[in-house]
Amino acid sequence: MMDGRIETRDVAAVPVGLIETPVFSRLDQISTAKQWGNWAGYISPLVLDTMEFEYFAIRNQSTLLDVSPMHKYRVTGPDAETMLNRMVTRDLRKVAPGRVAYAMWCDEEGMVIDDGTLFRFAENDFRLCCQESMHGWLLDAAWGFDVEVIDESHSVAGLSLQGPTSFSVLQAAGLGAAGSLKPFDLVKLEPDLWVSRTGFTGDLGYELWVPWDRLTKLWDRLWAQRAPWGMRAIGTHALDMVRIEAGFVAAKVDFQPVLTASRLGRGRTPIELGFERLVHFDKGHFNGRRALLKQRDTGPRYNLVRLDIGGFKPAQDALIYHRKRREVGHVTSGIWSPTAKRNIALAELRAPFGGEKTDDLWAEVYVNEEGRWDKRLVPVTVQTKPFFRNDRARATPPRAF
């Protein structure tokens, strides 16, 4: 129109609904389950075949998962280390270029905003990968520092290759140079291809990062080597099982990212989530340090713990009782672990339970027996070690396990 108003029909169409990642056509082809989920606005497989097949492939063979929907932010510039070190709780000065660090970051009250992995490409060049959208927060955190923050969520894509034969697949695909990578190492193997020995499974595995439009090529390159190594493409349900076995926490499941929680008191500190070892009080100021320092002295309000639960029924959402009477917490993630052959869970307990007090704890598990509900009180024991540990996860160079 001549008067400067804008007609709706003249506006370029905005995609409605979930967006396909570059390898969607590949996934759609092999998917028999047709179970799709929403991962940060992208169509992501929940299950491609069956969850059990996919789970066992992670633990016994190798698996490929498209992790492109992950939020990715590049932070570069002379102040990049200082700026990020003020944001996250761990000391990034100890993370050398070519290394990846798991990190948490908090609000001013010490409540976790999100967790994620920080890739250090060079002295002044980082990438943050996380579940929650973090652009606004990063821009706030970057204010006053000589850094540039770029949202790479839609320009950098990634594949997660996990499992005992994952290195063999890489070798067969001509990426054998990754063999020298120790856990949390990061290397540029080819122009536009970074490989890190990272993952969400607690097992041997790699993540491969390429520009968005190169992902299909990378997928095909790895997919071509699948046969002898039993590689499968997987969905996120199977991944969720292995991350519980590995004892990894998930945002919005095991803790509520404080910036998205609207109710008061829903935030949790890294100390309460069991990550005090990643809070480095001696590195100078970082966001939430004063509040966390106070909590270090007064003690946590909650304890997120690993539980071994009696029986075999997954205890998802079960309430936890002390002496079978007093409610002291609840299960945040619970599964039957096929590898550990145990009924395992992550649970949030009100302090001092899970801390000094760990005896006489019970889980109330509800079981639906074809229309009839049964309530069982089963004993629980607090575990300090992850449920799944295997030396192959750390062996360097990795073998064809």
Binding site: R86, G144, F145, N287, R289
Partner: protein, 490 residues
């Protein structure tokens, strides 16, 4: 070996000096560091001219009338609640004005106790003695409101958060009389009478009873009295020395670096400048991200200019006697006019009809007309723009005082930019930060800073951006000093 003090105060404005005096009186060794060559900050003759509150001891003041000029010549003479025409004739709205004025002063009195002491805070909870004391202060306000009686209490709560435009024009027809109150409600602020919260800012202005006082010897004398008080108490005041950095070690203040390369050690540093400038001095990385964001977003858009016109003779205003010319002269012909003058400011333009507050200085020498002009842009002051604005102010005055322009020998214009450079006031804002509802009491200057403390131990805010804010009261400084003593950091 660096010189060591218990406390260093950045800036020898009236608030910095008041803080220094309060601390020195309690036996602390205090050094006030001032970047300019003169003490007083914004309390100087070039910048300010009147007091709305009791002056520091040793300064004589004289209460003066206000004359709200009318383009039609029906000027209104106002003293506190009384209004009549300058010709001596009664004003038809005098009764309505008086009722409204008295009501506002009564309400302002209720807020007064909150306004002077540190803002109430319930952070300790009510289980401790200190927490209960805080609660009792809030309760006192509650009791005071209750004592008004049902009808008045309702009225208080009804108007508290409304705008001056509606309040004034509900009571009387528009003109220079309500215009004067409208101008008082928004002076120094980036707001017009229609902006929400302007009734509260008007009450704030009236909280000492509404008198307007001219200090004998000018504002310089007031600044001198603050400096004298600080020095007498034992504080050292060093002028011509800027602070380039606040040294923080282990999340605690350790001292300051000076513009001459020297260093002073101290365990507490009080800053008279804005929160953001203070954070920059200590290093942004020392503060939480949210605290920096709040300081960044602090509304402190300077919107007031000061114009000092040196005159070759005593100006004559049509319809004013020689004595009336010595009153506080306002050009605020209507509430709507004050609102209209704010409109261009929103877009960074100059007001077409500026709202002015003018005072003719005392004395026998060459007289100076001191003019405060509201609603000017904060930045982009080119030479052209300065000249055209000066000309438009002179032209506005000329309308009421024919021949005024030819008396002007020299014009000294201070824009918000100049004021910021001269005094360090954030954005050159008259009150260091907008006196809005969201930036008053427990949220002044920002959420989490009402206790004058920054996150870094030993770092405090003591300037007008802290509660209770603007005006030459020294209250932010004294409150800040009290907090330092209560925290036991120095």
């Amino acid at each position: 070996m660096n010189a060591r003090f218990d406390v260093i105060v950045i800036g020898a404005g009236h608030n910095g000096l008041a803080a220094a005096e309060a601390l020195a009186k309690r036996g602390k060794s205090v050094c006030v560091v001032e970047q300019s060559d003169a003490v007083g900050g914004m309390a100087c003759d070039r910048l300010a001219h009147l007091l709305y509150n009791p002056a520091p001891s040793g300064v004589e003041t004289r209460e003066i009338d206000t004359v709200s000029l009318s383009p039609e010549g029906a000027h209104v003479l106002i003293r506190r609640g009384e209004a009549r025409f300058t010709s001596g004739k009664p004003h038809p709205d005098a009764a309505a004005y008086q009722t409204l004025y008295r009501r506002l002063v009564r309400y302002a009195g209720l807020l007064h106790q909150l306004a002077e002491a540190p803002p109430p805070g319930l952070e300790q909870g009510v289980t401790s003695l200190a927490g209960l004391r805080e609660l009792s202060r809030l309760a006192k306000l509650g009791v005071g409101v209750k004592r008004l009686g049902k009808a008045e209490m309702r009225e208080f709560l009804r108007i508290l958060l409304t705008n001056a435009y509606d309040l004034l024009l509900d009571e009387m027809p528009d003109g220079p009389l309500p215009g004067a109150l409208a101008a008082d409600a928004v002076r120094g602020a980036f707001s017009g009478p229609r902006s929400p919260g302007t009734v509260l800012s008007l009450m704030y202005r009236l909280r000492h009873g509404g008198g307007v006082f001219l200090p004998a010897g000018g504002m310089g004398a007031v600044a001198g009295a603050y400096a004298e008080g600080a020095r007498r108490a034992g504080a050292e005041v060093r002028c011509g020395l800027g602070v380039t950095r606040v040294i923080v070690e282990g999340d605690k203040v350790a001292g300051v670096l000076l513009s001459d390369g020297g260093r002073l050690d101290a365990s507490a540093v009080l800053s008279s400048v804005g929160p953001m400038q203070t954070m920059r001095m200590a290093g942004i990385a020392e503060f939480d991200i949210e605290a920096v964001r709040r300081a960044r977003k602090l509304r402190a858009k300077g919107s007031t200019a000061k114009l000092n016109l040196r005159l070759g003779g005593v100006p004559e205003f049509t319809g004013l006697s020689a004595a009336q010319v010595k009153a506080r002269l306002l050009v605020a012909p209507s509430v709507a006019g004050v609102e209209r003058s704010f409109n261009p400011a929103k877009y960074g333009d100059l007001p077409k009809q500026p709202v002015l507050e003018m005072v003719l200085t005392d004395g026998t020498g060459p007289s100076t007309l001191s003019v405060i002009a509201g609603h000017v842009p904060e930045t982009s002051w080119t030479t052209d723009r300065r000249e055209s604005f000066t000309a438009s102010v002179v032209e506005t005055i000329e309308r009421f005082a024919p021949g005024f322009g030819s008396l002007v020998e020299e014009a000294d214009l201070l824009t918000p930019e100049d004021i910021s450079a001269m005094t360090g006031a954030p954005g050159g804002h008259w009150h260091h930060a907008e006196m809005g509802l969201d930036q008053m009491l427990t949220t002044r200057p920002t959420v989490g800073m009402a206790r004058y403390r920054f996150g870094v131990a030993g770092l405090y805010l003591c300037g007008a951006s802290a509660h209770p804010g603007g005006d030459v009261t020294g209250a932010p400084g004294r409150n800040s000093a009290a907090q330092v003593l209560a925290d036991g950091v120095a």
